[in-house]
Symmetry: C2
């Protein structure tokens, strides 16, 4: 075989290619993609439904469906109940058609996950120890850990066609650049990792990925304008408008933690004063906790002989869940401060729903109720009556799921 003139192997996944084709070939590919997309959004579909959605005739739709079945991308899922006449066949995605890998990089660990074509997580590995630092060594370790996960369990045999990675900080999803971490070369980090691992790679900001994960697999209903608040040590938001992730000009949207709405003298790690994060974040919680302990307050969060400076956000969260008074009070204070920030968002966005996610959201109503109350006090009632405030349903899993979906939907939609 002479390498020079070798054509790319034709696979069943050809419809997801961007290769330049035109005319009827192009139209058919577009329609097939649209069918996959419709089934993805609506669940199993009938030929009649699809024919309407595509604006194509029933015979045409039938032949496209048959091709997609040949390709192994969709399959017959049996008959629908009668609506007064002959029962219609339903068609759904084939789970094993392809897979996607999600990598959620946190400050002190990584979560891995494998997702199939139908958005089901088929294999997961959580809390793999890792320390996120802005060094080449940290990046090398990350790549090694990904490779190692790829050799495990069902990953070995799955056809993985996309890799999604969540990172904190400024991420440009479109170009694949990460500016806050691993920005050692001009070449996009996504491209560097693609070359190392051999799978097309997509970067996303952690809050945006979590927002997307939460939204796609939610039971919230059919909301399309969603703000996801990621409450970790820092506070970021993921913005979904019209069901799509909003990036901003360079992918820097959602720096909610650094909006200047408090009048204090606390210097945020971004270098400014008065940031929301100085009063409503995991960092703020830890700082307030230390101050109170030094003032003489007591807390069960502080284990015997433990120096107060070793306390972590998670210690306080767990203490609160175990009814520790001080922790609950401080979290409530954080919630109230957060509510002021939420009031800003609600007035500007008039969203359908605000979802509290990230580590701090695990405290449930301890943080939600004070936030809701402050939100009501500080925003226009006509507008805030319109908005639900809920706790994330996916919790920490939102990250991996979002990472998988980022890769998946960038490729197939």
């Amino acid at each position: 075989m002479h390498g020079t003139n070798m054509k790319r192997k034709k696979t069943k996944l050809d419809i997801f290619n961007d290769a330049a084709v035109s005319g009827v070939v192009f139209k058919n590919r577009s329609l097939k993609k649209l069918i996959v997309s419709q089934i993805n959004h609506l669940g199993n579909c009938t030929i009649t439904d699809l024919s309407k959605d595509l604006g194509a005739s029933v015979p045409k739709t039938t032949s496209l469906i048959n091709e997609l079945i040949q390709d192994g991308l969709i399959r017959d899922e049996g008959k629908l109940d009668s609506t007064g006449g002959r029962r219609a066949s339903m068609f759904g995605l084939v789970p094993d058609a392809c897979h996607f890998l999600g990598v959620d990089v946190k400050k002190f660990h990584i979560n891995f996950g494998l997702m199939d074509f139908t958005k089901k997580m088929t294999y997961q590995k959580e809390k793999v120890p890792f320390r996120l630092e802005n060094t080449p060594e940290s990046l090398e370790l990350l790549i090694r850990l990904i490779k190692s996960f790829l050799g495990e369990g069902p990953c070995k045999n799955a056809q993985i066609i996309g890799l999604g990675i969540n990172l904190t900080g400024r991420i440009n999803h479109k170009t694949g650049h990460s500016f806050s971490f691993f920005h050692f070369k001009e070449e996009p980090l996504a491209e560097i990792i693609h070359k190392e691992i051999g799978i097309p790679t997509f970067l996303e900001n952690d809050s945006r990925a979590m927002a997307y994960g939460e939204f796609q697999l939610n039971e919230h209903g059919k909301e399309n304008n969603i703000l996801f608040i990621n409450m970790d040590y820092g506070t970021g938001i993921g913005i979904l408008l019209d069901g799509k992730v909003y990036y901003g000009k360079s992918g820097f949207s959602g720096e909610f933690g650094h909006i200047p709405i408090f009048e204090n003298e606390i210097i945020c790690h971004c270098g400014k004063k008065g940031c929301l994060e100085t009063e409503a974040s995991g960092h703020a919680l830890v700082r307030k906790f230390k101050t109170q302990i030094k003032k003489g307050y007591t807390s069960t969060a502080l284990k015997k002989n433990m120096p107060v400076d070793d306390i972590t956000m998670n210690d306080i969260i767990n203490a609160a869940l175990n009814e520790d008074q001080l922790s609950i009070e401080l979290i409530s204070e954080i919630g109230e401060n957060l509510g002021k920030g939420l009031a800003v968002l609600v007035n500007i966005f008039n969203p359908e729903i605000l979802v509290l996610g990230g580590a701090l959201s695990e405290t449930g109503d301890y943080i939600r109720l004070p936030a809701r109350s402050a939100l009501n006090k500080l925003s226009l009632s006509l507008v805030n009556n319109d908005t639900k405030l809920k706790i994330s349903q996916l919790g920490e899993k939102a990250g991996v799921i979002g990472a998988c979906l980022t890769a998946r939907d960038t490729i197939i939609l």
Copy 2:
């Protein structure tokens, strides 16, 4: 003629109907709409361009173009310069194909305008005296004034197929409801006016309409993520994302004036404290002016023997433009406070451009520079470096233009 079975008169504007058709008729109509839309966005187009954009063959595109010429919607605009071969014909919209009426309702006057199919304003009437009050009489007068404008000049003979109306306050563009003004019945205000005037009517919030007007006719470039700040007595924003107006769940987006970011004891007319509007708006400017005068400061804005309580925002703006020291200082203060609000927006949206519009923006750099400086101080530099801050190019005209475009684009796009 028996009225019972009479079909709607078929006109050249049939492609803008929503009437249910299917199959090839539907496809052709969609494609024709798409052609109009492409020419609308890109300016005059050639058959080859359109054929690519539509995903249709050249002969097909040619036949659609010919039909549109028959319909009187587009016309041959001559030949393009050669790109190395035979010169291509360009096609553009026919200006007189149809017209749209825009009504910009301000607090103390109304601006009217007539726009043709090519987005040109063909007739305008500004500052028609009117007092916006939430009474049936005020609404009646508004309707009378619209009818009267329709009898004037070129309006008499133009085929007007849409009417756009701007109002302040909470507007739901989709349902046609206005909640802050003229909400006397359950029936949408847009529908009531449609019945009165006989032209399909579309309501829009003033800031959003101005944003849309500024964006569509701008020379700003090809930006798609734009925030338009409407600085009048109140302060609202119009949000354009991906080139489209963002409404929020119920159309209440953009209540920028009421985000709680100041710690003061001034009660906003919305009933809350600390709203941006209490420190950065026309109202705030007037209040600050009165306070300073009562403290003994002097200003040329205050004409001989004029009681200070009669001062208006426009007096102060004009004085500033005539180098009045106090007015300039106060406007600069307003600008600085505004900058704090802009910092919030920039951190959240990472927009391509912020446009300052509305009455206060006429003070140009007097308000822009302090705002820019505060913005830089208070938002992440990586993000704010990304954002331009400009003064509106259309000024007060943005309103009527936006109203016309709201009607126009709701119908034809």
